[in-house]
Amino acid sequence: MAAAPYRGRRMLAALVLLSGFALILFRLFNLQILQAAELTAKADRQHRKAVSVQGPRGSIYDRHGKVLAINMDVPSVFGVPASLDDPSGVARDLSPVLRVRAGEIEKKLKQERSFVWIARKLDPEQGRRLERMPLEGIGVVMEGQRFYPKGPLLSHVLGFAGMDSQGLEGIERRYDPSLRGEKQMVVLQRDALGRTVFPKGLHEQVPSPGHNVILTIDEVIQYIAEKELEEAVTATRAKGGIVIVMEPRTGAILAMAVNPRFDPNTVQAISADRWRNRALTDTYEPGSTMKIFVAAAALEEKVMEPETLVYGENGRMVVAHTVIHDHDRLGWMTFAQVIQRSSNIGSVKTATALGAERLYRWLRAFGFGERTEIDLPGEVTGLIKEPRNWERRSLASIAMGQEIGVTALQLVTAVAAIANGGWLMKPYTVSEIRDEKGRVVVQVSPQVRRQPISPETVHTLSKILEGVVTHGTGSKAAVPGYRVAGKTGTAQKIDPKTGAYSSHLSVGSFVGYVPAEDPRLAIVVVIDEPQTEAWGGVVAAPVFRRVAEQALQHLGISSQEPVKLAMTTSSEMARP
């Protein structure tokens, strides 16, 4: 029989086939049942791509709704080198629109990559021209770009945001959580070649934009402050300067100018040193402006009265083995004249009568040595040593505004407390935060920190400070038609080379308020290292006058005194 040998072969073939099927079944069982969860997840990872999408950043406005920072979608152009037949021709076509040499574009398009950026964040007009060009393998996407349309105006306060729309300095940094748009994860599909498939209607799923921030700043007063500061810094060949304009009753900042300025639109090209808001990050020895607070303490403690006689020692006195000078050989004078003539010797005698502990306590009460808690990043506390660390000369030095470091913001805040009747306010730059529909999310109210001084003392001190301007060292701060109160300051700087007070490096300042009888503006002017003149009464007081004069006019604060008409006489006015 021939069947026997075939039977064996059939059996063998069936066994091989069955084993094969068994193997396939085992593999299927392994893939479909045992590894199912792991493999499904792996496939999902390959087919899906999660990207984060962020809503546009909120805008920043001044107190009158003028735009100071805004986001705008601008075009960016990319290439897909693999789908280009003629990279040279495409580069030649793109070159005039992108204003980039054709050679450079061609180099990018010849890279062995699936995606290349050709140019990012172009202006909208370039985008429109690109859209009209039918170029294969070239695409345009819109990206959010931060714009500061007023250029350098208010740059130190606004700060700036980075490429990924994150606030890096100033308001942009402090209020980043409010300004930043909502973040959402969007899941996209990928095809077999790994290319992203954008679902229809994706652009309609844009997450909510960030909130809008409304500042207390008045852009016109800011411009006035920056312009006048710039002119003064140029005229005195100074290293820089600061002007702060504050509303004394509320602590709201109307202007904060720091010179030299920078343009936040081109911040990449500027050194970090220029970004710093020196009005609150840098301290300086205030010099004679500190006498305001020595006087406030002396009047409040009843150590002195305006008519108390003080002997000026003919302009020379020895304290702790060092000689203290006055700018004039002053003899007997009233306490009011000590301040008005800015007598160092008179101020040292006043501080001595107060004693170290009381003087220290009073300076701390006015906010020196602590942050004002303004809503801007980077503020420092300033420097005021505790009396137990004072040396023999310290009491006299501090009475003249030496051995103490203050920020311009601390100084104007403390003077505003005298202007408003005795209330130390918390300065602030943001008044409201609104959502994209204009609904108020946060409303900021003025905040009192404490009342360091009584209204009676304020009244007496204010009269003395008016005298500084009417017949003292601050005459150049006088604003015709308005009563001005204030104080000049001239401080020598420490020479970094010698560690001693320099004979040629100084800081000239003026701090005051206007109109004195109903103060609406408190202003500090600091001119750093002026080269032409050192005196605060010469370099800073005129800046105070010019800023105050224009700001009062802008705010419609009318003069308290009759003003002569410059263009017409009364007889001309009487004519029909």
Binding site: K66, M72, K150, K227, S558, S559, Q560, A566, S570, R575
Partner: protein
């Protein structure tokens, strides 16, 4: 979207064109204007009361706190 984009673009342009720095530059350099000199601007308050006996209205020029300083024709 396109309209929103155009609105944002116009806002940026408007904001840049109305910058106080630019307005001052155009006013002084292009139009030859000068800032008002001292005494050329007087802030006036107009009294809201009606003039007695139907006399023609002559608004008072006032300085702050309603101090009367004269009349304008």
């Amino acid at each position: 979207m396109a309209l929103e984009r155009e609105r944002d673009e116009l806002q940026v342009k408007l904001s840049a064109l109305t910058s106080p720095e630019r307005i001052a530059r155009v006013a002084t350099e292009k139009l030859g204007l000068v800032p008002p000199q001292r005494g050329q601007v007087i802030l006036a308050n107009v009294k809201p009361e009606a003039p007695p006996h139907g006399e023609p209205s002559m608004p008072d020029v006032k300085l702050a706190r309603n101090e009367r300083v004269g009349k304008v024709p």
